[in-house]
């Protein structure tokens, strides 16, 4: 729930709060909190207001000093930022970090290549200069490279190439670029403990991993109803349980090419890697929209396809038709809204285990596709054989009993007819099977046929929703065999076979096989 007091405060009040927090050494840690996209302060603000507010927090960090806690927020601006003010403020903030690292250089170069230069003012909150100033994003980024000094040496060829581009920089900036290159090439050598290569420091930046037994349950989201890219409804519990999944969030109206568009394109690459590693059928992917009201199935389908995403029953684009707030709170999504529209979001990807629980997350900094696939493989292995530490001790009988009872309850729940359609299925089977025992079977035939019809329709709807038509085919074959056996050929064995087929098909359609497999694996694990 948004904090109304925060949401109702003016931008000026926010700026005063940031200044007060930055000036108080005890409260300075709160600055990182103020950069979280889901902070109530950012609720119901326009995009430009959010830029001004976040920029002010980054400038406060430049005064207090950036720690490891705030580093992802700063590097995120270089990685995916498109706003000159935020990139420049992040550049100023980074220079307050305790030690320069070669790992920062690729981020800075990326920003230097992406950003358009413009005059900025950091003097007062929300100021826009109306004449040339000495503060520009390119100058701030060059200052970061100069601060990195010898740690940025690997980027000298790229800088030379930028310098050679006609019209890329004005004369003043070229002079500044030359000074930056001189600072990088200077005699100073990286200190012994700073001789890192470009991939050491932030390799796991923005990544988290939860051990098997510390993962959060999905009770609050199991009943969330999604609609996929084809308009097929499916619940969270139905789709995400049974196999590990990779989940990304996006919205089709995102105007930042380095965020949603790139995220979905990278998800397509992940699908490709699944194929190359032979796990395409074992791990699912889902692209869930932040903007479920606007992103209708057709929009999601086109958006995904244009970026190379493949869709089928295991790989879907989803919009929450009910319960988006619960989903937002379950994943702690880094997103905020103005009315129904996203006003700011981070890049985020989650690896879910076979029980739909979050096992790993990649946030803010763009993830490497191979790393994501590695994580998915790890989760896949854990699901097949959960960690030994997870096994309950056999001395604890109560614990074993609890697990067995829980598993049996799950199976009972799976087999228990939960809706009128399921009742119809069971009635059709037991009704046909009891033909011989009913005193006046001919009078009951129409009723039983009607029940069979209801069953076949219910199985069809179920098959369409889950995109598994195997059960439906079994039921059709079973009903045909039963009718032929009972009414035409008078061959009881055929009828019995038909009943068995109908029963199997109905169960196949009603039970989530993957979920069942998962529970069976749990039984196997608990007993040895």
């Amino acid at each position: 729930m948004p904090d109304l007091a925060a949401a109702e405060q003016s931008e000026t009040q926010f700026a005063e709060l940031v200044d007060a927090v930055a000036a108080d050494p005890v409260r300075q840690e709160q600055l990182a909190e103020l950069l979280r996209e889901d902070h109530p302060f950012y609720s119901q603000r326009g995009g430009a207001a959010i830029v001004r507010m976040r920029g002010w927090v980054l400038l406060a960090l430049a005064r207090t000093g950036v720690s490891d806690r705030e580093l992802p927020f700063v590097l995120e601006e270089f990685d995916t930022g498109t706003d000159a003010y935020l990139v420049a403020a992040a550049a100023r903030a980074l220079r307050s970090y305790a030690r320069p690292s070669a790992a920062f250089a690729p981020f800075v170069m990326r920003a230097l290549n992406n950003i358009r230069d413009e005059p900025l003012s950091f003097e007062g909150y929300g100021e826009y200069p109306t004449s040339s100033t000495d503060t520009t994003p390119v100058r701030e980024l060059l200052a970061v490279l100069a601060w990195l000094g010898p740690h940025a040496r690997s980027k000298l060829p790229e800088l030379a190439s930028l310098r050679a581009q006609p019209g890329r920089f004005c004369k003043k900036l070229i002079a500044e670029l030359d000074r930056t290159v001189a600072a990088i090439c200077g005699n100073r050598q990286p200190e012994a403990d700073q001789t890192d290569d470009c991939c050491t420091t932030p390799a796991h930046l923005g990544q988290e991993w939860w051990p098997f037994h510390e993962r959060k349950g999905t009770e609050t989201v199991d009943s969330i109803v999604f609609e996929d890219h084809d308009g097929t409804p499916i619940r969270f519990g139905e789709f995400f349980k049974g196999r590990p999944s990779i989940v990304v969030f996006f919205y089709s109206r995102c105007d930042n090419p380095w965020k949603c568009s790139l995220t979905v394109a990278k998800l397509a690459r992940v699908q490709q890697l699944f194929k190359e590693r032979g796990i395409y059928g074992q791990v699912q992917t889902a692209a869930i929209t932040y903007d479920p009201v606007f992103d209708l199935p057709k929009r999601m389908r086109e958006y995904g396809r244009e970026r190379g995403l493949q869709f089928n029953a295991q790989h879907r684009a989803l919009r929450a038709t009910e319960g988006f707030d619960a989903l937002r709170s379950h994943f702690c999504l880094g997103v905020n809204f103005i009315e129904s529209l996203v006003n700011r979001h981070r890049v985020e990807l989650y690896v879910l285990d076979g029980a739909g629980r979050v096992a790993a997350s990649f946030e803010r900094i763009h993830w490497d596709e191979s790393q994501v696939v590695d994580r998915a493989c790890e989760v896949l292995r854990q699901d097949a054989a959960p960690p030994v530490a997870a096994r309950p001790s056999f001395g604890g009988q109560g614990q074993v009993t609890g697990t067995v009872l829980g598993t049996l309850a799950s199976l009972a729940w799976a087999f228990f007819p939960k809706c009128p359609m399921c009742w119809a299925a069971y009635l059709s089977i037991f009704g046909i099977a009891g033909f011989q025992q009913i005193p006046y079977p001919s009078k009951t035939h129409p009723a039983l046929l009607a029940v069979m019809l209801i069953n076949i329709v219910s199985v069809w709807f179920r098959a369409r929703a889950t995109q598994r038509i195997g059960g439906f085919c079994f039921v059709c074959a079973g009903i045909v065999a039963t009718i032929l056996g009972k009414m035409v050929m008078n061959w009881d064995n055929l009828a019995a076979g038909g009943i068995a087929l109908t029963f199997a098909g109905s169960l196949w359609g009603a039970v989530n096989i993957r979920q069942l497999q998962f529970y069976l694996r749990r039984i196997g694990c608990n007993f040895g």
């Binding site: 413009e118 004449s131 040339s132 019209g167």
Partner: protein, 297 residues
């Protein structure tokens, strides 16, 4: 081999001569454009030829930016300078290094006394989703005394950025429009607001509403809630008392995005559209023909 070398040399010389001609031409035009002794006509005419020269060096660009910023310059010359710089920003690679100065100058002249210059500067800035321009436009909508452009123009410019926080202001204008054009612009802006579907449904069904607004509502509703639009479009097509242009829009929606199989079974709709093929406005007849030919395809 020798022939090849001669041809190469000739081509090189031709290119050099062309470059020199262009430089002299651009230089001359640039000199006239920035020369206050020349007539307004001459300077405006010269400014039309300077976009290439503008990108040839920082000094040229700064001189034209100076003309644009200078409130003592005739407004015709300043407008021509703006046009010239805008053309250069599209066509000259070298302009990139000075784009920041250009943006700062645009922010400066967005508050100029001349309304046309203000509007054109704000247009360029709004297309770049500039925070300064958005802030000024929103301030003007909330407080008309501070408005730099008329409300309809402000709404049009704010609609370039879906994240511009303009929905609240647009809704206020729909409820209490200062003029009919402003209301239409507000509706156009709100057509990206996913929660506005019920409002568009109401306007579409309101026959007392202007036809332009009803058409806008039809296309907005189609984008926001296509299923609802399909139902309403059928009702409108069957409504004998509704206007031909609204029916034509509804028929187009059905033709483009409707369920053909369902329409093929819908005899009532088919009969009505058959009649429209020969009666009604040209636009309606055309829409009816397209609908029927798609049905028969």
């Amino acid at each position: 081999m020798a022939g090849k070398t001669r041809a190469g040399r000739k081509l090189k010389m031709t290119r050099k001569a062309k470059r020199t001609r262009e430089a002299v031409g651009g230089g001359r035009a640039f000199w006239i454009a920035t020369n206050k002794q020349k007539t307004i006509q001459e300077r405006v005419s010269a400014l039309a030829h300077v976009p290439m020269a503008v990108g040839e060096g920082d000094n040229n660009l700064q001189a034209v930016l100076g003309v644009l910023r200078d409130v003592k310059e005739p407004i015709e010359v300043r407008l021509a300078a703006l046009q010239s710089l805008q053309a250069a920003s599209f066509s000259v690679v070298a302009f990139e290094s000075s784009s920041g100065d250009y943006r700062a100058t645009l922010r400066n002249i967005a508050q100029d006394e001349n309304p046309e210059l203000r509007e054109r500067a704000l247009s360029v800035l709004a297309q770049q989703k500039d925070g300064f321009a958005q802030k000024k436009l929103l301030e003007g909508l909330q407080n008309p005394q501070k408005a730099l452009v008329p409300p309809q123009k402000a709404l049009q410019l704010l609609s370039y950025d879906v994240h511009a926080d303009a929905y609240k202001a647009a809704r206020a204008i729909v409820n209490s429009p200062p003029n009919p054009v402003a209301k239409s612009e507000a509706l156009r802006l709100l057509s990206a607001d996913a929660t506005a579907a019920p409002m568009f449904e109401k306007i579409l069904l309101d026959k007392s509403e202007s036809r332009e607004n009803r058409q806008l509502s039809a296309s907005a509703l189609h984008a926001l809630d296509p299923e609802k639009m399909q139902t309403l479009a059928r009702d409108i097509v069957l409504d004998a008392s509704d206007y031909d242009d609204i029916k034509a829009t509804s028929l187009t929606a059905l033709t483009q995005f409707g369920d053909n199989a369902a329409f093929a079974r819908d005899q009532t709709l088919r009969k009505s559209v058959d009649l429209m093929k020969t009666r009604g406005s040209d636009e309606l007849q055309l829409s009816a023909s397209q609908f029927l030919s798609k049905l028969e395809a």
